[in-house]
Assembly symmetry: C2
Homo-oligomer: 345 residues x 2
């Protein structure tokens, strides 16, 4: 009415102005309603909502981002391996992010190299995200980059400097310790450890938990074996360990390595759990149905992601406030059939 322009012949998508006109209010009032801002009469709110509904109005996020400087989206740097752990974490993050009304941008990296991480971060920063989650068990090295949004590291300590860094653990240390103690409690004189790749932080964390459990009982600490998280690497380790009769208990840093390990052991004539006990790490439910069912510790992926996102959003939305305290995730040991007392007992 007021402007000389008329809506084209039923073509392009409705804008907030169309909603405003239909509701008989200003564009700003529409904006207020859509953003749940105060100082809008119930009447106005109702009419705006009705008009939006009627028009099939869809807010343009790009325009909002440009005008407000915030995108209401958070980016995640994930590992391009389809493992149970990685995938569970991503699902948990997505859910927590969406529950908070944010959108998710994902970039994968083939590995945790500082170089790849830097590339992933750069791409996220360009897209414009309000915060970043680095769920990659980053390897050592520095990522030289001007990151001006809060960054959450899950399951690893901050690997580079950003405006604001946060951390949320998955309790790896405690879980590794619990796994090792379970074996020790069964009567094994010591526990061997099949770890992940050397440079990964996740590897170190678990090694330390295992080591702490051993030390607390005064048990001898055998040399660490390194796999690459795959079942194949666990299998190779199993073949190697089988000939050593002193090995009666092994804690593997991943379920899949544990499965491979058991296979290698059995193929070499060692029974599991009669001769050798094995504990895994992750908690993939499918391994309750293999023979023998795998004893393992469950990583609290959902808890860690919702807790982490909570912290991240706090840092985004109330930058100057104290961070809410981090709740430690529960330690969960799942005892199944792959562990038993040592043969001599």
């Amino acid at each position: 009415m007021t402007t000389g322009l008329e809506r084209g012949a039923g073509s392009s998508a409705p804008r907030s102005e169309d909603v405003a006109r239909l509701a008989g209010v200003s564009r700003k009032t529409v904006s207020r309603v859509l953003n749940n801002e105060p100082y809008v009469s119930d009447e106005s709110r109702r009419r705006v909502l009705a008009a939006a509904e009627e028009l099939g109005y869809r807010l343009n996020h790009a325009a909002r981002a440009l005008a407000s400087g915030r995108t209401r989206s958070i980016g995640v740097v994930a590992l391009a391996t389809a493992g149970y752990g990685t995938a569970s974490l991503l699902v948990g993050i997505e859910q927590a992010v969406r529950d908070a009304g944010y959108a998710l941008r994902v970039v994968n990296t083939p590995d945790g190299d500082p170089q790849s991480i830097a590339g992933a971060l750069e791409s996220l920063l360009e897209q414009g995200v309000d915060g970043i989650v680095v769920s990659v068990p980053i390897v050592e090295g520095d990522v030289p980059l001007g990151v001006d949004v809060p960054v959450l590291f899950v399951g690893a300590p901050p690997a580079f400097t950003a405006a604001r860094t946060l951390t949320v653990g998955v309790g790896a240390h405690e879980l590794a310790r619990a796994a090792t103690e379970h074996l020790l409690d069964l009567g094994h004189s010591t526990v061997h450890h099949l770890a992940g790749p050397r440079r990964w932080y996740a590897t170190k964390d678990r090694i330390e938990g295992w080591r702490a459990a051993l030390a607390a009982r005064g048990a001898h600490e055998p040399p660490v074996l390194n796999g690459d998280w795959s079942a194949a690497s666990g299998y190779a380790a199993g073949l190697g360990l089988a000939s050593d009769r002193l090995v009666t208990a092994v804690f593997a840093a991943g379920d899949e390595m544990a499965i491979g390990l058991i296979h290698g052991l059995r193929e070499s004539g060692r029974r599991v759990p009669e001769d050798v006990s094995v504990v895994g790490f992750d908690g993939n439910p499918v391994f309750a149905y293999v023979t023998p069912p795998l004893t393992t510790v469950r990583q609290p992926f959902e808890a860690a992601s919702s807790e982490g996102i909570r912290l991240l959003l706090h840092a985004i939305e109330k930058p100057d406030t104290e961070l809410p305290p981090a709740n430690d995730p529960p330690v969960e040991l799942i005892v199944r059939g792959s562990t038993a007392p040592p043969p001599s007992l």
Copy 2:
């Protein structure tokens, strides 16, 4: 220099205007360089790039999206279950999308219900994506929604109407057929089938492949069993099947169900593969290390995603052109230890 404004005390992020000024060209020329458009002298290009580098310039994607109407991002609707298949597909999609210079937005749905799908699509549409991938093995029902960007369905037929729908298969029919034929070739008189949930498209596809193989050999078609993809549901099915001595071969529609099935069978006193042969579906490498190692068919996730994204990008960038032909992914049967000739032979 020319304008009265001076850069603030080293604060806000550089814009294209800053780059233009430093390079001594116009903003539009900067834009041309950044978008790899023609009609820019090498000299200008070089200087723009140098200036951008020097300033640490980062293109604002929100502004670009607003001005151009395109976001250079594609959205994916994925299933919120951290299975091997889902995760592999997502990794493949992410890679293909990034290789093409697009960004990825992910929304999960707890299930394949039309309702959930509609919500996921709506959220993607609001964020502004140039195309959408529905990687959910969608269930029946209609999704009433105005989707005006191309939509790619992977592993399922179009489940709702959009401006432009595309499909890329994962060869499920052929894979199911190959799995069934393998069992028949071994000498089994017929093959039972443990399928997924009834309403899923992925379930039907596999049932049809299985049925086709049976029909081609004139084999009797036993009633279909339905699980929910989980190992637990496979286990339950195994317990039920064990008492029927006529069952000597089972094709399970998922690796995890197969693992549960084998466990249920063995627990009931049926040996695998001596008494009953089992074939899985997916190709998760870890199951090469369980006892017995699982015979399975491998879903070509990487091939399907790169092929699918290729089609989708074509539809986005050259809407009026003929679609390039779809390459059929290869069928891959992996024979391991869970299959053998039937006991009587």
